[in-house]
């Protein structure tokens, strides 16, 4: 079984602020991390490696410093790492990104492609599904459970009010939720080896696409305005006994037409 996991390096958004003048993220001094849903996806792949001996390749598109998350993936147990990097890829929106990654994936053999559901910097949840479309693969998003049975994938998809169980043929693409897979820690021996291992560096020569599909040129998205959300008004505090509290909550929910 060959698995490719698409991962992204993102600023740790728990510590991020937006520049009020330019509307862009202030990245200075903000630590970069592996996107949490992608890490969940890598965990799923590594569990399949533990269980079925799957071969796990990780790929990331980004600047050279994105190497760090590939080293981290090695220390967690990945078998191969690819850094997809070129100036031509810069400024890509989700469409250009998904075109680029899909084109790069055509160089690889796979039975399963895994992405995170969404990245915490953009929160679009578009790139995974778009890759599946470009490659003509069946896809399941919001995956919280996965197994293999008789050559088919049995997938638990999270929905707003519960779960859906699906059977999917191979190859396919899954977008995974961090909440479904608690990622393992890097192990010490893996850390010691991580910087001795090879990382394949792929440039635009590995991506068979016309230049106008790449980077800023290939990105129809235009950001109109970015702003910091206003702070909500302070809540009400009621110090009452549990019975009164229940009645109070129910009446408030009714008032807002939630129930």
């Amino acid at each position: 079984m060959k698995i490719v996991v698409c991962i992204k390096q993102v600023p740790d958004t728990t510590e991020i602020k937006i520049n009020p003048v330019t509307g862009t993220l202030i990245r200075d001094g903000v630590p970069s991390i592996m996107n949490p849903d992608d890490k969940g996806g890598l965990e799923l792949a590594l569990e399949l490696k533990d269980k079925y001996g799957a071969h796990v390749t990780v790929i990331t598109m980004g600047p050279p410093q994105a190497e760090l998350i590939l080293r981290e993936a090695y220390a967690m147990g990945a078998d191969r790492a690819i850094l997809l990097t070129s100036r031509a890829f810069g400024g890509a929106d989700t469409l250009a990104t998904s075109h680029t990654i899909a084109a790069a994936l055509k160089n690889l053999e796979y039975d399963l492609i895994i992405t995170g559901r969404q990245a915490i910097d953009g929160d679009t949840a578009q790139v995974g599904p778009q890759i599946a479309e470009h490659l003509g693969l069946p896809q399941v998003s919001y995956v919280a459970g996965f197994d293999v049975k008789d050559g088919k994938y049995i997938v638990k998809k999270e929905t707003e009010d519960g779960y859906q169980m699906l059977e999917v043929s191979s190859p396919a693409l899954m977008t995974v939720l961090a909440s479904g897979y608690k990622a393992r820690y890097m192990n010490v021996a893996g850390i010691v080896d991580a910087y001795d291992r090879e990382i394949d560096i792929w440039g635009d020569d590995k991506v068979d696409l016309p230049a106008e599909k790449l980077g800023l040129k290939g990105s129809p998205t235009r950001v109109n305005k970015a702003f910091t959300k206003g702070i909500k008004a302070a809540g009400e505090v009621h110090e009452v006994d549990p019975e009164q509290a229940v009645n109070l909550i129910v009446s408030k929910l009714k008032e807002k037409f939630i129930i």
Binding site: R71, E72, Y185, M186, N187, V188, A189, I191, V192, Y195
Partner: protein, 379 residues
């Protein structure tokens, strides 16, 4: 000269911090309160390879270095000093002497299981009448065919009862004093070996600290560690390494207390402003931060010397002395900054203050460290 951690060490620091924060910190108060050995944390640490950080891969270790080991003890102790000392005693005091002084057969037998964490290790030198004067060993080992028969007891042994392997100093020839001391590797299931009284301590209350009892305990000759009469040298060498471990523990405790105090003094308001806005707080905290950083540099430099194969005995004593006294000062002041709340178990600083005290005592008291440093100075 380069003061930066290598990329590998940085990656390790990222992992151990996250592990400490998510897996160790949530248990720290309960482990202290109930004096419970954190078995589940030990199992998690074993899975990650934390019990064999600097042991080479061919003996089942991770093949890392002493700086990484020191950072591991520091980061664990930053949130839970109990967890820090479990790792330190296992690594520095049991695995290290076997690696350094063991025969190939002993290394093959013990290191892979110790490094994987399948077995936990401990070390026994201290006796009721042999503390700082370690040469006054009364545990006797008498030759009997292919065996040595051990009789006596050891006290205050970290990881006792939980460990599978014990490195034990014994007296094989009293007339030779220091040169009559011999070290043995004792398996926990050896007949005649048992665990005695468990100590109830001021701090590091989750770590198992007990008496070891030897009653006609027959240890095969093949378990002698080093040569006959080399035990004192092995013990002193082992304690040199152990001191870097305890210095790392003290450093971690001090850092943990700093973290808590910075957070608290920013939140706590008196006279209409955060107490961190008062110059008294700022000046005292600036001094403490400087001391913690100085302690860190001493610890890192000693661990670096160990990795580089340079002599580090006095460096180990200096970093242990300074880090331990810094930990005591920082934690005591941390409680003061927290006021009445700091004296309660609602906040972790009182635990840190209790935990810090032992770092001035075990693996050589601060007085012993001064003796070691002075001995080098006036040799």
């Amino acid at each position: 000269m380069n003061f930066q951690l290598t990329k590998t060490q940085q990656l390790f620091q990222q992992m151990i911090r996250e592990f400490a924060e998510k897996e160790v910190k949530p248990l720290a108060a309960e482990v202290d309160d109930t004096e419970r050995f954190p078995d589940e944390t030990v199992a998690k640490m074993a899975k990650l390879g934390l019990f064999g950080i600097y042991i080479p891969k061919n003996y089942g270790g991770a093949g890392g270095d002493h700086i990484m080991y020191s950072m591991a003890v520091e980061e664990l102790s930053r949130v839970c000093a109990t967890t820090g000392v479990i790792l330190s005693a296992h690594t520095s005091l049991c695995m290290s002497p076997i690696w350094e002084f063991g025969t190939e057969e002993q290394k093959q037998k013990y290191l892979p299981k110790l490094a994987s964490g399948e077995w936990l290790g401990a070390f026994g030198l201290t006796e009721p009448n042999a503390g700082t004067d370690a040469s006054a060993q009364q545990t006797m080992a008498v030759e009997d065919g292919d065996y040595y028969i051990l009789n006596g007891s050891k006290i205050f042994i970290t990881n006792a009862g939980k460990a599978n392997v014990y490195v034990i100093a014994t007296m094989t020839d009293k007339s030779l004093k220091n040169k009559g001391i011999t070290t043995f590797i004792v398996d926990a299931d050896t007949p005649g070996f048992s665990i005695g009284k468990k100590e109830h301590k001021l701090g590091i209350r989750g770590s198992a600290t007990c008496e070891l009892i030897f009653e006609n305990c027959r240890v095969p000759k093949s378990n002698m560690l080093g040569k006959l009469g080399e035990g004192f040298k092995i013990a002193m060498k082992t304690l040199d390494g152990g001191r870097i471990g305890i210095a790392s523990q003290a450093l971690g405790i001090a850092q943990g207390a700093m973290d808590e105090t910075v957070k608290y003094t920013k939140e706590r308001k008196q006279f209409g402003r955060s107490i961190s806005a008062f110059q008294n707080t700022q000046f005292q905290m600036a001094d403490l931060e400087t001391k913690v950083q100085a302690a860190r540099l001493l610890v890192r430099s000693a661990a670096w010397k160990q990795d580089a194969g340079l002599p580090y005995s006095a460096d180990a004593a200096m970093c242990k002395l300074f880090a331990a006294e810094t930990a005591m000062e920082v934690t005591t002041k941390a409680v003061q900054f927290h006021g009445g709340y700091g004296y309660t178990r609602e906040y972790p600083v009182e635990r840190m203050m209790r935990d810090a005290k032992i770092t001035e005592i075990y693996e050589g008291t601060s007085e012993v460290q001064r003796m070691v440093i002075a001995a080098k100075l006036f040799k």
